[in-house]
C-alpha cells in the first residue's frame, strides 16, 4: 500500500482550503422518515431537534406515503431486494417493463428507458445519440449533470443566456450547418424555480429544424394541470423529443431516473448508454413503488393542487413580510440574500427557530446571488407554513433585511 505522505498532505491542504472558504459541506443526520416534520441531529452529536423541513424535493409528500411503502414491501417479498445484474444481462423484471410503460403514458412520449438515476440518464443520453457532426445548445443554468453529460459527448456544444429566446435563435441560426441541433433545457430551474418557456423553445425548434431535450426532474408529478410536467403546462406534450426525469424527487423520492422520448433515441440508449449498460438495474422495491406513485397521481390531482396552494401562500407570505424572492410559479422559492455569509447566518438562525433550510452561494449559484432555497411540499399545511413564516420574519428582522430590496441588502452586507 502506497499512500505517500506528500499526497496525504496535499489533499489535507485542499480540504483545509475548502473549510477556509466557508464552503465545506456537512451532513445533518435525520432520525425520522423524510417528511415535512423531521427529527434532526446537527451538528453531529448535538441534541435531536424537531424542525419543519423546507428543503426537501419531496414535492408531493410521497417519500413516506403508506401506499408507497406498502408497494415496496410487497415487491421486496415477491421480487426480492436487488438484481445483482445490469438490465441487459439478467437485471430486467416485469416491474421494470411495467414502470417504463407507465412512465411513457404519464409523460406522453413514445418510449422510456430507466437509469439508476437522472444524473445517469443525463450522463448517458447525449453520448449515445450524437456525433461530431451535431451541436448541443444548452441554457446556461442547466443542471450540473447535464453539463457532465454534454462534456462526455463528441458533438460540439454551445450555450445561450438563461431563458433568452433571442439568443437561442441566434445560436440556432449559427448552427444551421449541423446534422442535429439539440436544444437542451431544464423544465424548472433548480436554483431559481423559474420555468423554461417551453412553448417558445418548441416554436424555435420547429422553425429551425431542431430537437428539444427537457430535464423535468423538478416538475414531473406536479407542474401542469395533471402534473405531467412543464410540457403539459405550456401545452406542448408530444412535441418534446427527449425528456429526462427522476424518481428521486416528487415521484417517490428514492432513486432512479429515465430517458423518455422518441423510440429510436430510447432504443439507442438501450444499445449504447454507458450508465445503463454498466450499472445495476433499479431495485425491484423502488420500481414497484414508482408504479404505485404513478397510479396515485393518475387517479387524482389532489396532491399537486395542494402543493400549488401551499406554494402560492408561501410566496405571498414572504413578499408581504418584506423578503426579496425570485418570482415564479413553482414550489421552489428562493429567498434572495445576495451575500454568502448572510445566507449562511440566516439559515443557521432559522434552524434554531425550528426551520430546516440551507444557504446556497457561489459556485453553486452565480457570485453575488446567495440565497436560501425553500421548497414546498404537499405534506406541508397552512398552519405549518404560518409558523415557518413567523420564524422567517423573526430572523429577517434580527438581520435588518425586511423591506430592503436587492440594493438595500447589498448596501448593508456587501456582496
Amino acid at each position: 500500500m502506497a499512500y505517500p505522505a506528500a499526497v496525504r498532505e496535499a489533499w489535507q491542504a485542499e480540504l483545509a482550503g475548502i473549510r477556509e472558504k466557508g464552503i465545506y459541506k456537512e451532513e445533518r443526520f435525520i432520525h425520522s422518515p423524510q417528511a415535512s416534520h423531521i427529527t434532526v441531529e446537527f451538528p453531529s452529536g448535538a441534541e435531536l431537534k424537531e424542525v419543519i423541513n423546507l428543503c426537501a424535493n419531496n414535492y408531493l409528500g410521497l417519500s413516506s406515503h403508506p401506499e408507497v411503502i406498502a408497494a415496496a414491501h410487497k415487491a421486496l417479498d415477491e421480487r426480492g431486494y436487488g438484481m445483482s445484474s445490469v438490465r441487459f444481462i439478467c437485471g430486467t423484471q416485469d416491474v421494470h417493463r411495467t414502470l417504463e410503460q407507465k412512465l411513457t403514458e404519464f409523460l406522453g412520449t413514445e418510449d422510456t428507458i430507466l437509469f439508476p438515476s437522472c444524473l445517469d440518464a443525463n450522463a448517458g443520453v447525449f453520448e449515445a445519440i450524437l456525433g461530431p457532426e451535431d451541436v448541443m445548445i444548452s441554457d446556461r443554468l442547466v443542471h450540473a449533470s447535464i453539463v457532465d453529460g454534454i462534456r462526455l459527448a463528441k458533438a460540439i456544444h454551445d450555450t445561450y443566456k438563461h431563458c433568452d429566446m433571442a439568443h437561442l435563435e441566434e445560436k440556432l441560426q449559427e448552427h444551421q450547418d449541423k446534422r442535429v441541433r439539440l436544444i437542451i433545457t431544464d423544465g424548472v430551474f433548480s436554483m431559481d424555480g423559474d420555468l423554461a418557456p417551453l412553448d417558445r423553445i418548441v416554436a424555435l425548434a420547429e422553425k429551425y429544424n431542431a430537437l428539444v431535450f427537457l430535464d423535468d426532474s423538478h416538475a414531473s408529478g406536479f407542474i401542469g394541470r395533471t402534473g405531467r410536467g412543464v410540457h403539459e403546462h405550456f401545452g406542448v406534450m408530444g412535441r418534446i423529443d427527449i425528456i429526462t426525469t427522476t424518481l428521486g424527487k416528487a415521484l417517490g423520492g428514492a432513486s432512479g431516473g429515465c430517458v423518455s422520448g422518441r423510440k429510436e433515441i430510447v432504443e439507442l440508449c438501450r444499445q449504447r448508454a454507458r450508465p445503463y449498460l454498466f450499472s445495476n438495474a433499479v431495485p425491484p422495491p423502488i420500481a414497484a413503488s414508482a408504479i404505485k406513485v404513478l397510479e396515485i397521481l393518475s387517479a387524482t390531482t389532489e396532491r399537486r393542487d395542494k402543493l400549488e396552494t401551499n406554494a402560492k401562500f408561501w410566496r405571498q407570505g414572504l413578499i408581504d413580510a418584506g423578503f426579496v424572492i425570485r418570482e415564479g410559479e413553482s414550489p421552489i422559492v428562493p429567498v434572495m440574500l445576495f451575500n454568502a455569509k448572510l445566507a449562511q447566518d440566516v439559515a443557521r438562525d432559522l434552524y434554531y427557530e425550528g426551520i430546516y433550510v440551507v444557504g446556497f452561494f457561489f459556485p453553486v449559484v452565480a457570485a453575488g446571488q446567495a440565497r436560501i432555497r425553500t421548497q414546498l411540499s404537499a405534506d406541508h399545511d397552512i398552519p405549518m407554513l404560518e409558523k415557518a413564516l413567523e420564524a422567517f420574519k423573526k430572523v429577517g428582522a434580527r438581520h435588518g433585511i425586511l423591506g430592503l430590496d436587492k440594493k438595500g441588502i447589498i448596501a448593508k452586507y456587501g456582496l
Partner: protein, 85 residues
C-alpha cells in the same frame, strides 16, 4: 482587438441590466469571478478562432488563459505570430 473582445463578452455573456451596472475592462477577472462560466467560454473561443482565422488548441484555451481580456489577447497574439511565421 481589446475593444472587440470586450464588446463580444458584453453581448454574449451579460444581460442588458448587468452590462449597464458593471465596469468591464481588460483586467476584469471573467471566469474566476463567475462573469463567464468555463463551460460557456467555448463560444468566445470559437469567436476568436473565426475572427482571427487561428486554431486555439484545447490544452491552451484554459480557464486561466481566458480569465482576463489581457491574457486572451496574449494567447491570440501568440497564435497569430505562429500563423504569420
Amino acid at each position: 482587438m481589446k475593444e472587440m473582445i470586450l464588446d463580444y463578452i458584453k453581448k454574449e455573456y451579460l444581460d442588458e441590466d448587468e452590462a449597464d451596472d458593471m465596469t468591464l475592462d481588460e483586467h476584469t477577472p471573467l471566469i474566476s469571478s463567475g462573469i463567464v462560466d468555463s463551460f460557456s467560454m467555448v463560444s468566445l473561443k470559437r469567436f476568436l478562432e473565426k475572427k482571427y482565422e487561428i486554431k486555439l488548441p484545447d490544452e491552451e484555451a484554459t480557464p486561466q488563459a481566458f480569465d482576463t481580456v489581457t491574457s486572451i489577447i496574449a494567447l491570440v497574439n501568440k497564435h497569430l505570430a505562429k500563423k504569420g511565421a
